[in-house]
Amino acid sequence: MAKHPTPLLDQLETGPWPSFVSDIKQEAEHRSKNPKGIDFQAPQDCPADLLGVLELSFKEKETHWKHGGIVGVFGYGGGVIGRYCDKPEEFPGVAHFHTVRINQPAGKYYHTDYLRGVCDIWELRGSGLTNMHGSTGDLVLLGTVTPQLEEIFYDMTHKLNTDLGGSGGNLRTPADCLGQSRCEFACYDTQDLCHTLTNDYQDELHRPAFPYKFKFKFDGCPNSCVAALARSDFSVVGTWKDDIQIDQAKVKAYVGGEFKPNAGAHAGRDWGKFDIVKEVIERCPTKCMSFDGALKIDNANCTRCMHCINVMPRALRVGKEKGASILLGAKAPILDGAQLSSLLVPFVPVEKPYTEIKEVIENIWDWWMEEGKNRERVGETMKRLSFQKLLEVTNIKPVAQHVKEPRSNPYIFFREDEVLGGWTRDINEFRKRHAR
C-alpha cells in the first residue's frame, strides 16, 4: 500500500516512455520491503515521501523545496547542494534532501562493479534515487541527510576511488563527448583531455575562488554532441587544418547506391535515390565542392562544417592535421541574455600535457578573477570589458577569423602608442595654429 495516494502522478505511469513515477514507486516498495535488511541511514520513506511532495506540487502547481542551506564536506566549497522541504511534518522522509554530485568518468563509460558500488553506498546512505546524469555531467545522488555527507564522501573516496563534482563559484565538473573511443570523426582524445584537466584543476573544482561558475566541455568535432559551445564557458571543439581525406572509389560506391548515405540516419523515409549533387555539393555551405565523376573539394574555402563527412563517412575523413578550436563565454539567459561561446583560439594542437591549452585557461582565469564582478560569467566579463581585452590578456593576436564581420561603427579605442606623437599636447602650440 503506497504511503501517499498519488492520483495525478499515477497518470504518468502509462505510455511508452520510461516512467520515473513507476521507477520511484519500485524503489519505495523495495525500501519498505527491505529484503536485504539494510539499516537505512537516510529515511526509509524517502522515495515514498518524494512521491507525496511531488503529488502535492502537481496539485498546487508550486514547488515545495526551500532555498538551499549551506552544507558540504570539510575542506570543499562545492559538490553538495543543501535542500530542505517546506512541508517537513507531512513528508519527513524528505525533510532534508541534499544532493551529492559525483564526478562522472570521462565519456560516461562505466563498469558494473563500480556502479553497483555507487548503488550500495547510496541505498545505505541516501534516498536510492539519482540523476543519470545532471545537466553539467555529474552522476547526481538525489536526497540525503546532513550527517551522512561526510560518510558518503569517505565511502566514495575510500571504496570507489571517486571524488565529488563541482558546484558554486568554481570550476564545474568538466564533460566530454565519447570522441575517439568510438567515433571516427573525433579530432583529439576528448576523454584524456577532459580527465587530465579535471585532475589538474582539482583545487579550482573543489574550492570556490571564481566570481561565478566556470564550465569546460569537450567536443571531438564540429558536430558538437556535448554542445560545448552552448553549455560551457570554455568550449573545446575538435577541428583540422589540412584537407579532407577523400577515397574516390568509396565516393563512387555511395553514388552507385552501394553504401547507405548518412550512415543510415535518414533510412526511415523514402527520400529518393541518393543524389550527391543535390545532397552534398549543393548543401555545402561554402559551395567549395564539385563533382564530375570524381569529388573535388576546394579545401581553402571549406569551413569544416562536417556535412559532407556525415553524409559519406566511409568515403570522407577529417584531415590529418588535427586539433581543436577554443571558444569562450557561453551561458544561460541569467542575467544578460543567453550567449553561445565566441571563437578565441582558431586552432590549437591537442597534445599531452596540454600546456598550450592550460596557458589559455589560466590567463583567462587570472583576468576574470581580477576583473569579474560577483556572479558574472566570463561571457559577461568579456562583453563588458571587450573582446580586445580578452585577446590582450590571453596574448592572442587578433585575426579576421575572430569575427563574423568587422565593426560597423568607427568608435574605436586606439592605444596611445598607436597614435603618432601620443596624447599629450600643448594647448599653446595648438593656439598658434588656431585662434580661440
Binding site: 570539510f74 545537466s135 569517505y154 571524488d163 568510438r182 523515409r269 560577483n374
Partner: protein, 381 residues
C-alpha cells in the same frame, strides 16, 4: 537506526582523508573492443533505429544499442541495467550526454539477444524500461532539469512534462523519418541548467508575477544590497517600511520593470516568485549547436506562455507535436528546425504552424532587440 560509520572520524576529519583525487579514469571502464580500437575507427552505420555498428580499421565491430531512460533513476533500475550489462556486455555500459543508456557488444548474435532482452522489460505501470531508439533523423532523449522534484526556483515541473512530451513523440524516437534530428530540451526556470537555449525545440519555465516581498524576514535573511544588485532591470530599491508598528529595512519592487527572471529570489529567499496562476512555460524553437551546414544558433520564443497543466501538460505536448509535424512535412532533407524557419522566413513559420504571433514575441531586452527587428522592405505577405 544505528549509525553505521564509514570510517570517518568527526573528531579528526583529516585522519585518513582522501581528497582531490578526481573522477575514476575512463581507462578503468572502456569495454575491451573500445580499448583496442580507440582512435582507429573507420566508419559507423545505423542498422535500425537505436542500433549502431562501429567498424574499426582492422574490421573489428562494436554494436551499440541505445536506450532511452528517465534521467531520474532509482538504484534498483541502475542495478537492472548492470544485470543486463553483466549478462550481455561483460559488465560494461555507458550513458550519453542526453541521458540515454548504451549497451555495447562485439557481434551481431550478441546484439540480437541483447535487443530481445531489452524489449521485454517493462515497469509495473506498463511503460518501457529500456526503449531502443534515438539515433539519426530522430528525436533523442530530452535534456532536462530538476523541476518540482528537487529545485527551489522552478516555474514548472521537469520530469512530468518530459515524460508527457516523450510519450507523445515516442514514434519519432523509434524511427528516423524526420528531415534531420530534433533536439528537445526543458529547463524549469531561466537559470536553464542545460543547453535549452540552443535546442531545436526548447521548453522553458517562466514566472509571470513579480516577487512578493516577505517584509517580516527580509532584512534578517538577505543582504539588501545584493538583492538590489541582483536585478538586471533595476526594479528593486531599498526601502524602510512599517511592519508590526516598527520601521524596518526592506526592499520595494517596481512591478512595471520586473520581467520575472527570479534572480532576486536566487539571492534572497524573502522574494519568492512561484505562483500557481502565474507560472508556466514558453516554447523556443530553432536553436542548434552542431556546426553542420549552418552555424550554431540560439532558439527563438514562438509561444509566449502555456500554463502548467499537470499531470500531462496537454496544451504543451500538443503544441510541440504540432510544430514537429509541420516541420517534418515542410522542411527539406538535412534541414534542422531553425534552418527551415530561416529559409522560409519566420513570418511563414507562423503562417504554416498557425501559432499566433503576439506582442510578447518581439524582443525588447536591451540592444540586441534592435537586430531582430526588420530593417528592410523584404518580407513575405
Amino acid at each position: 537506526m544505528a549509525f553505521i560509520s564509514s570510517g570517518y572520524n568527526p573528531e579528526k576529519p583529516m585522519e585518513g582523508r582522501i581528497t582531490d583525487i578526481g573522477p575514476r579514469s575512463f581507462e578503468d571502464f572502456y569495454p575491451p573492443v573500445i580499448k583496442r580500437n580507440k582512435g582507429k575507427w573507420d566508419y559507423h552505420e545505423i542498422l535500425e533505429p537505436g542500433i549502431l555498428v562501429h567498424v574499426a580499421e582492422n574490421g573489428e565491430k562494436c554494436f551499440t544499442v541505445r536506450c532511452g531512460a528517465a534521467r531520474l533513476m532509482s538504484v534498483s533500475l541502475i542495478r537492472e541495467a548492470c544485470d543486463i550489462a553483466d549478462k550481455h556486455c561483460g559488465g560494461h555500459l555507458r550513458w550519453t550526454t542526453r541521458n540515454n543508456i548504451e549497451f555495447m557488444v562485439e557481434n551481431e548474435a550478441a546484439m540480437k539477444s541483447l535487443v530481445a532482452d531489452l524489449k521485454d522489460r517493462k515497469f509495473a505501470g506498463g511503460s518501457n524500461k529500456f526503449p531502443i531508439g534515438g539515433t539519426g533523423a530522430a528525436i533523442s532523449n530530452m535534456i532536462h532539469t530538476q523541476g518540482w522534484v528537487h529545485c527551489h526556483t522552478p516555474a514548472m515541473d521537469a520530469s512530468g512534462p518530459v515524460k508527457a512530451v516523450m510519450d507523445e513523440v515516442f514514434d519519432y524516437f523509434q524511427s528516423m523519418k524526420l528531415p534531420a534530428p530534433i533536439r528537445l530540451a526543458l529547463a524549469c526556470c531561466l537559470n536553464m541548467c542545460g543547453a535549452v537555449h540552443a535546442s531545436d525545440i526548447g521548453i522553458v519555465g517562466i514566472h509571470r508575477k513579480p516577487p512578493i516581498v516577505d517584509n517580516e524576514v527580509l532584512d534578517n535573511v538577505c543582504e539588501i544590497p545584493l538583492a538590489v544588485a541582483a536585478c538586471p532591470t533595476g526594479a528593486i530599491k531599498p526601502t524602510k517600511t512599517d511592519f508590526d508598528g516598527k520601521k524596518i529595512n526592506s526592499v520595494s519592487v517596481n512591478e512595471d520593470r520586473c520581467m520575472y527572471c527570479g534572480n532576486c529570489y536566487t539571492m534572497c529567499p524573502a522574494l519568492p516568485l512561484a505562483d500557481y496562476q502565474g507560472d508556466g512555460c514558453v516554447i523556443m524553437v530553432g536553436g542548434k549547436v552542431s556546426n553542420r551546414i549552418s552555424m550554431p544558433k540560439l532558439a527563438k520564443v514562438v509561444v509566449a506562455y502555456i500554463p502548467n497543466e499537470p499531470p500531462r501538460w496537454p496544451t504543451l505536448t500538443k503544441a510541440i507535436k504540432h510544430i514537429i509535424e509541420v516541420y517534418s512535412k515542410n522542411a527539406k532533407k538535412y534541414e534542422r528546425v531553425g534552418e527551415w524557419a530561416e529559409r522560409i522566413g519566420w513570418e511563414k513559420f507562423f503562417e504554416l504552424t498557425g501559432l499566433e504571433f503576439t506582442h510578447h514575441l518581439i524582443d525588447d531586452f536591451r540592444d540586441p532587440a534592435y537586430y531582430t527587428w526588420r530593417q528592410s522592405t523584404q518580407f513575405k505577405f
